[in-house]
Amino acid sequence: MTKNKARRIVAIVLVAAAIVMGIAGGIFLPQRNGETARATTEELRIRTLLDVTGDGLVETYVKIARDEAMKVTKEAGGNMAARREAANKAEEETRALYANTETDYSTIDTSALAPAVAEYAARLEVYYNLTSDAEQAYIDAHMAEAEAEAEAAREAKIAAGEEVGEEKPVTVDMSGFVATPEMEAALADADAAFEDVAAALCGIYPALDDDALKTLKPTITSVVLQQGESFTDLYDRYMAAGSGKAVTAPTKAWLIRYADDLLYGAMALIVAAVIILFYETLSKKLGIPRIVLGVFFILLCFLCLWFDLSLATLLSNSLVRMGMNAVMVLAMVPGIQCGISLNLGLPIGLVAGLIGGLCTIEWGIPGVWGFVVAILVGCAIAAIAGWLYAQLLNRLKGEEMSVTTYVGFSIVSLMCIAWLVLPFQSLKLRWPMGTGLRNTIGLDSNNFKHVLDDFLAFDIGSFTVPTGLLLFMLLMCFLMWLFTRSKTGVAMSAVGNNPRFAEATGINVDKMRVIGTVLSTVLGAIGILVYSQSYGFMQLYTAPRQMGFIAASAILIGGASTSRCKISHVLIGTFLFQGVLTLGMPVANVLVPGSTISETLRILISNGIILYALTKSGGESRA
């Protein structure tokens, strides 16, 4: 059997499985809002109720057994320790007795319980609706008061010279809220209905006493109440209720609950089949790293759906992070095109941009103009620094990568000292006590926080489109594209592709390399400002050290090599890289709670792709 044939068979099997899953999902998904779903939830509710009460019943038995044991020991003349020990022993025995007794709920007659529960649920709903209405009315009445108080407190703080954090949403103090007479009446109604439920439960479990019922009441209430939740939420809640011991649900209910996951699974299988069928064409067109990361990204999307994480929000976050990082990644383009390969000395530009940002805060220029001034100052510094840097690089052709890395590192650590001694005065920038600037400087609405993100931003469901950020990103890409089409741009990429040929045709190689390096550094300065305005913080000290690597790996993921790149590589690479990181974090947290696995993921992807590019850049030095 040939390899192709085997591949085709696997693909067909996958597609067949996908069709089965898709049909099953398609049939059962619409039933969620139908009669079957409603009946199922009713049934599950009763079962959960019985289960919870059964557990409560065990507690009652335990209590009886303990009392009994205590009494017996006391009569036998045992001291306190002996009595306690006997009680514990009795508890263990009782628990062991009931631990493995599964009640078969379908045999229990619930004809009396079901209507009582339905009635109780209805009255509870009335009560909770009344409560939320009354609370909203209270909040509306007292909102103005609370706002005035918060504002006064804020002003007092500013007057005292204390730090004022970001404005928090004002909350109304609910301690003054009193239940209305209607609410009390509804609650009494509900309590009366609960008596019926209790009576019905006692009919099923005769050993249930009043004490047990009293302690069980909150649990029963929470099981009975359905505040307009969807089928899936109710299903999950009932499955999880009752001390973690799941109630067995009918197969059909399971199918309805997981119908969406079946559909996602079907889609995933079809994607997998397509990849298997067209693997060779794809790998030739895209290259192995992009396929691996692309597949990983799709897999993460499906995992998000599977774990019921909000894919729309996450994709929207990835889009924001793409916009945040894209300009820094774009800074790699002139570097690669002018022949200095990956500009790992990008931190030089980043630091220049940060200084620009610090200046606007120091001068107190708000909003968009602050951002513009920051960019202008940053670009000016970056242009000078980039020019000097280019002079250095022109003297060491062929060894740029390792030199740029360590020059970048040196600049970052030199700037660490500078951040300590630079004469900025604003308390927003300095530590109130001690010397030097803060590690992270929080931006707020008085500075340029979110000036791009919030410009013309709009929502589609839970998917927020950061229009301004994306427009700025596209604008920068377009300008870069225009530049590469210009005479200088064409000459520059000729230098990057083949320096000897370029020199032979009379292009001034050194000049082109200077232009490319300066452009790259300037774009780095703009990039860090775009990043900061979106992130909401400016990070000083060692933070910029690794950013050059992140930007370099993004463009490599996009399909660039160390001597050739296009604007599309920037966009594709940034989206894939940031998308994988953004989606990876919540998925990893579901798989391994509280872990830092997404940070590990970043390290592996970012450095792995650079290593791959280095091995591809040829066994021999390019010099």
């Binding site: 003297r395 062929g398 040196s410 660490c416 010397t435 830092t596 280095l614």
Partner: protein, 417 residues
């Protein structure tokens, strides 16, 4: 006398000379903050734990692969070995020796892989090694956060902290399960005794060589004279009091000495000649029938294993290490140290490594105090020494690349004439 070309000497040792001046400056400003005998005490401690790993860099440099920043991976191998030795509860010297033994196959295997990869990026070994170190750090985190302590349970107390995933942040070797000071405490003498022992041995060797006429009499005389002068100097109470705090871990320094001999000896063997040949010119070496790729892999393997042992010496002296951070800066500090001593990207000797180690760590000790007395802030000194580490490497790379370009230029000009 020979005509010494001072200009050339200055240019070739610019980094070292600059560093000596800077260290001297820092030393002057730090004296009021920390007394000299404390500085010397610290220096000997740092030398004993760092010299070995710096010496591990020599062979790849000779083999033309530049500074092997991937020695961090050797350090990781050693830390894996330490973790398991503690888990099994083998303490003291046996534990240390077992860890050293376990490091060999691990580090050799990693070294093999590193060598294979670096062979695919000839001419870019240093940046490749650096990035490879970062990449391996990711794998190391996977191993220590999600495999050890989760999939493979660890039972020793203190290795895993309840409520957090993976191996604890710090691994302590000072408990009864660890091997803190296993090597250092074998034989510890004060400075005077150590000096007498060392000079005694050296004097005997010199005299034997003089008698067998393997050494010129003038040279031997100078050696003996210098030793006698040093011993004489030590008799002055002021000088002796400077060394009052120093305790010399003899076995550790002996191990360092053995490594120096190993480096010298190895370079005299056939394999050593091949290292040199490959280092000087790969094409020529290949033409003369040397398997260049294989020789390079062997060089990296030796370096990685030695780096692992170096890290073991380091942790037994420190008594504990940061599970997720102890290896990160190993390559940076060792690389900076050897460059400070006057080594280049293509040549390095034992002497340069030791001298660099002394200078670099001397600066490390005095920089924060100097920063405090100059600027009133110790943090400036802290950042300054990090800057120096990176800056020294950057400067060395620039100088190396520059001289390469110059050579090519002169060659071109010679051709065109």
């Amino acid at each position: 006398m020979r005509n010494v070309n001072w200009g050339k000497l200055l240019r070739e040792n610019a980094v070292t000379i600059m560093f000596i001046l800077m260290t001297a400056l820092c030393l002057i400003f730090s004296v009021e903050q920390q007394p000299l005998n404390f500085v010397l005490y610290e220096l000997f401690g740092r030398l004993s734990r760092n010299a070995f790993i710096v010496l591990a860099l020599i062979i790849p440099i000779v083999a033309g692969m530049g500074i092997n920043f991937a020695i961090t991976i050797g350090a990781m191998a050693a830390q894996i070995a330490v973790l398991w030795v503690i888990e099994w509860g083998i303490s003291g010297l046996p534990g240390m020796l077992l860890a050293a033994l376990m490091t060999v196959p691990l580090a050799a295997f990693f070294g093999f892989l590193i060598g294979k990869l670096l062979n695919k990026m000839k001419g870019q070994e240093m940046i490749g090694g650096l990035i490879l170190g970062y990449f391996a750090n990711g794998l190391y985190q996977l191993l220590f956060l999600f495999i050890f302590g989760n999939l493979i349970p660890l039972n020793a107390p203190g290795l895993v902290i309840k409520g957090s995933t993976g191996v604890a942040n710090t691994i302590d070797l000072s408990t009864e399960r660890g091997f803190k000071y296993a090597l250092d405490d074998l034989w510890k003498v004060d400075f005077g005794t150590a000096m007498y022992i060392l000079f005694g041995v050296l004097a005997v060797i010199t005299i034997i060589m003089l008698i067998t006429k393997k050494m010129k009499p003038v040279r031997g005389g100078v050696y003996l004279g210098v030793m006698a002068a040093a011993v004489g100097l030590y008799q002055i109470p002021v000088v002796a009091s400077l060394f009052s705090m120093v305790k010399v871990p003899m076995v550790t320094f002996m191990v360092v000495g053995v490594l120096c001999l190993f480096n010298t000896g190895l370079l005299r063997t056939r394999l050593g000649q091949q290292f040199r040949a490959v280092g000087q010119n790969r094409t020529v070496a290949n033409a003369s029938g040397i398997n260049v790729d294989k020789v390079r892999v062997i060089a990296i393997m030796i370096s990685t294993v030695l780096a692992g042992w170096g890290q073991l010496i380091f942790v037994q002296n420190m008594g504990s290490f940061q599970t997720y951070g102890a290896h990160e800066q190993v390559g940076l500090y060792a690389g900076a140290a050897i460059l400070v001593g006057g080594a280049g990207i293509r040549k390095a000797t034992n002497g340069q490594a030791i001298l660099g180690c002394i200078l670099f760590h001397l600066l490390f000790i005095v920089a924060p105090a100097a920063g405090k007395s100059l600027f009133g802030d110790a943090a400036i000194g802290e950042y300054f020494r990090v800057f120096i580490s990176y800056g020294v490497i950057a400067a060395a790379l620039v100088i190396h690349a520059w001289s390469g370009v110059q050579k090519k230029k002169t060659a071109k000009e010679a051709l065109s004439e």
